[in-house]
Amino acid sequence: MINRRTTLKLGAVGALSGLVNLPLQARAFYSNKTSLLPVQAVYDSVYSESLAFANTMQLSSNSNISAKDIQGDLSGLWYGKLRNQLISHRSPIIGLTSRLDLFCLEELARDVGMKVSLRVDHLIDQDGKVEHQLFGSTLANSSLENLGHTAGFGSKMAELSQLFLADQSPDISAQKLTGPNAPLNKTALVTWVIS
């Protein structure tokens, strides 16, 4: 069970559950339990959207979900079990974290021959309005249209997780979006798949 912690609020925390707002293909994907992939999820309970992401993952019908909390210290998670697990299995992982944590995870994943294959940057302005930018996926952007532009996207991203995990696009545009190519908002959150 995931424990709630004191979280960094980025706008009001929306409540969302169920599949009603998912695009058609994601809904179908979720309904077919025999096609559910084992999911290793990474989140950071410091961020409310990330916590909501993890909670929704845990509440889903997929019993193969294992969620790991960064708890503000990625090194503990990575140097703990995550790295050895990836070396053994090299199965994709999905997360909703800060961009800085993704930077570290992307570097560390390269050490075990894995790369960021998909990302959705959630750029949040001072008024709490959220813009979502998708990279490295052949999914129709319509899958993101339902995310809206307010808080509450974390749990929606969890509902899209199986769709994202199944999308193994070779498009490298998802990689290394910090530095001169980075979206300007350095405090953005990001949903990502490493595979």
Binding site: S75, D111, P180, A182
Partner: protein
């Protein structure tokens, strides 16, 4: 273009170049620490007994050439996207052949300065 204009253009371009290369005190301190502690593995030039792979590269640079496979520069000083948390994580935890670095070797202040140097805007 008149000679005066050419001279002005040259002067300002050189001035701009000097400004781009000028380091703040923290960055300059970081460069000193980098040269002592990091450059012998992560620098550019080599030719050691065991050489490198491909071009003559120092061990850290050589390892990063294999890791990045052309996606990113293997020389740390050529990276423009490094993040402070990543640098401090690797320095204090080690990574593969690179061992842990203690505070009696690279103090927290030294580490901040190295980070300032490597993450300075360019």
């Amino acid at each position: 273009m008149s000679k005066l204009t050419i001279l002005c253009v040259l002067f300002f371009s050189f001035a701009g170049a000097a400004q781009a290369q000028e380091l703040s005190p923290s960055e300059a301190s970081g460069k000193v620490v980098f040269d002592k502690w990091c450059e012998p593995c992560h620098g550019r030039v080599a030719g050691g007994v065991f050489g490198g792979f491909g071009a003559h590269a120092l061990p850290g640079t050589s390892a990063l050439m294999i890791k990045y496979k052309g996606d990113l520069p293997p020389v740390l000083e050529d990276r423009v996207d490094l993040q402070p948390i990543y640098i401090s994580t690797v320095v204090r935890n080690g990574l593969y052949g690179m061992p842990i670095t203690r505070k009696t070797e690279v103090s927290e202040a030294d580490l901040e300065n190295v980070i300032a140097y490597l993450t300075r805007p360019r």
